[in-house]
């Protein structure tokens, strides 16, 4: 109860800053200044992070849960800068390129499936969390994999540049499990390794695993198993040290949370048929996510 009143107070404060925007316009700095001057914003998105940010039916237009939230931010920026004609450019990123591209100024705002953690906080700034996942395993039901312990000496795939890759490599070294770890370029390729039998299991964020499953030839053959190795909060990334921009981003996301619009967006991507195969992920909102929406935070899961 206290936390939700607190968040309301934050929202009101943010709304107040939004309303006083014209007064600030003269002294824009950083990303907002760049957006105002160029009349365009570059959004970072993924190509195969189903259902967060990916190419659905149209191979030049990303869609997804995170992407919808990202567009909410764009709307807020349009208002704040009084730029109804703001041009949106898209720049696809991969797990490996997303951080350097945000740092080096190519991408202004990346919303996909990026875990907020302390290490990355040194390199970029995160928005308030937009999702919470656990890192688990996807395996064929018949493969006899129920938990990480079953993977000793086996081939396991994960996506290069993700927190799962790091966790898996560390687990392998620490517990001397003798796993052969394949680091694929993106989630689509990881799943290809799994589906073609090269790997016995695919370690990744559970929501993404459900997304990959929806893509499978026979989604019923697969299941997500294993004790979560970590809980992770996704955030949108932006360049470090730009509080004015971060305020707009956080404000837009928090407003979407508080108005309840986020529930409709969640439903659309997790509880209804989604492109490209019109499958339903049937992934009800977790208690962790409900909590995150009630009390938005830009801290990582380990910091809470």
């Amino acid at each position: 109860m206290t936390t939700s009143t607190l968040s309301r107070a934050v929202a009101i404060a943010l709304a107040a800053t939004l309303l006083s925007a014209p007064a600030l316009a003269a002294e824009l700095t950083g990303t907002l200044k760049k957006i105002k001057e160029s009349g365009s914003i570059t959004l970072g998105h993924r190509d195969a992070s189903i259902p967060f940010s990916y190419f659905g039916d149209n191979p030049s237009q990303p869609v997804g849960y995170s992407h919808d939230l990202q567009l909410k931010v764009v709307e807020a920026i349009k208002q704040q800068l009084n730029l109804p004609e703001l041009k949106v450019r898209y720049n696809m990123v991969t797990s490996q390129t997303r951080i350097p591209l945000v740092q080096n100024g190519t991408v202004d705002l990346e919303c996909g499936s990026t875990t907020n953690n302390i290490e990355r906080q040194r390199q970029v700034d995160f928005s308030v969390g937009i999702f919470e996942v656990g890192t688990r395993l996807l395996a064929k039901k018949t493969a006899g994999v129920n938990d990480f312990a079953d993977l000793k000496g086996k081939n396991v795939v994960t996506t290069a540049g993700t927190t799962s890759e790091r966790l898996l490599k560390i687990m392998n070294a620490k517990q001397k499990m003798g796993m052969n770890i394949i680091s694929a370029k993106d989630h689509g390729e990881s799943f290809l390794m799994l589906e073609s039998g090269r790997a016995l299991a695919f370690m990744m964020d559970d929501a993404l695993l459900y997304g990959e499953m929806a893509k499978a030839k026979n989604p019923d053959d697969w299941s997500v198993v294993g004790e979560p190795q970590s809980f992770e909060i996704y955030g949108c990334m932006m360049r470090k040290g730009d509080p004015a921009f971060k305020q707009v981003v956080d404000g837009a996301i928090t407003a979407t949370f508080n108005s309840g619009e986020v529930n409709a967006i969640y439903d659309k991507w997790f509880m209804q048929a989604i492109p490209p195969k019109n499958l339903n992920l049937n992934f009800p909102m977790s208690d962790e996510l409900k909590k995150l929406i009630a009390t938005p935070t830009d801290k990582s899961a380990e910091q809470i």
């Binding site: 740092q103 081939n155 290069a160 540049g161 490599k169 770890i181 090269r198 040290g241």
Partner: protein, 248 residues
């Protein structure tokens, strides 16, 4: 500017086991060399065979070699690699497919795909060099060998090829160096060769300038070293008076 330079990064722990970043580069270089050398052996053997085939007086045999060269030269290396890595294993008979995908270490299966891919890709280029070398030799040599009672295989192995190879050392050298550079595509199928290790270092440590600078230096040194080595070999085996014929 929020970039923290740290040239000491290579001696810092990666956070995985007791490895430091430099270990990753050493492992990566090892894979790069292993890919290039074995790929080169395949390329040289197959390329020589194809080069000979293109020059023999038989339309069908020459036609086969020509077709090979056209196919392997006109499809991008990366597409070929994806075909070898993603498609070909699925076409193998079931037991072999399972062995390749599940029993083999994934690094080994990726390695085999890359080596075969680069070997066959480079063979098409070697073939053209060998053919050029053979055709650069005076026609009289073949005629003279026939007159001495040599049969065609003997003419190739004793007369034409030994000379042709010496003429084409410079272009062969550049193909040899190319295979080292081309081996970097292996990073795209998850084999942890030099470029992949560089990317991983950049990503784990966030010191991307340092990582890429070191990688560039390694490739540059490797390339220069091999070039000098090949020049020495070229001088050793030079046939006086022959270089003028085909040497470019």
């Amino acid at each position: 500017m929020n970039y923290n330079w740290d040239w000491g990064i290579f001696f810092k722990s990666t956070g995985i086991g007791s490895e430091i970043y430099l270990d990753w580069f050493v492992t990566g270089l090892g894979w790069t060399i292993a890919i290039a050398l074995v790929g080169w052996v395949i390329a040289l053997l197959l390329g020589s065979l194809l080069g000979v085939m293109r020059t023999v007086p038989n339309r069908w045999i020459a036609g086969i070699a020509t077709t090979y060269v056209e196919i392997f030269r006109n499809v991008p290396l990366l597409v070929q690699l994806f075909l070898w890595y993603f498609l070909v294993p699925d076409l193998l008979p079931e037991p072999l497919e399972m062995w390749f995908k599940q029993d083999l270490n994934p690094a080994t299966s990726a390695y085999l795909s890359v080596v075969v891919c680069l070997g066959l890709f480079t063979a098409a280029r070697v073939c053209e060099q060998v053919r050029t070398g053979i055709q650069a030799l005076p026609q009289g040599q073949t005629a003279a060998a026939y007159a001495m009672g040599f049969r065609l295989p003997q003419i190739y192995s004793n007369v034409l090829l030994p000379q042709a190879y010496r003429i084409i050392i410079p272009p062969l050298t550049s193909e040899f160096l190319n295979i080292f550079k081309n081996s970097s595509v292996a990073s795209l199928i998850g084999l942890m060769e030099l470029l992949a290790q560089t990317k991983q270092t950049a990503e784990f440590s966030a010191n991307l300038f340092e990582a890429f600078t070191l990688a560039t230096l390694i490739y540059f040194t490797l390339n220069m070293g091999l070039m000098l080595l090949m020049r020495m070999i070229e001088h050793r085996v030079a046939v006086p008076g022959l270089i003028a014929v085909g040497g470019k």
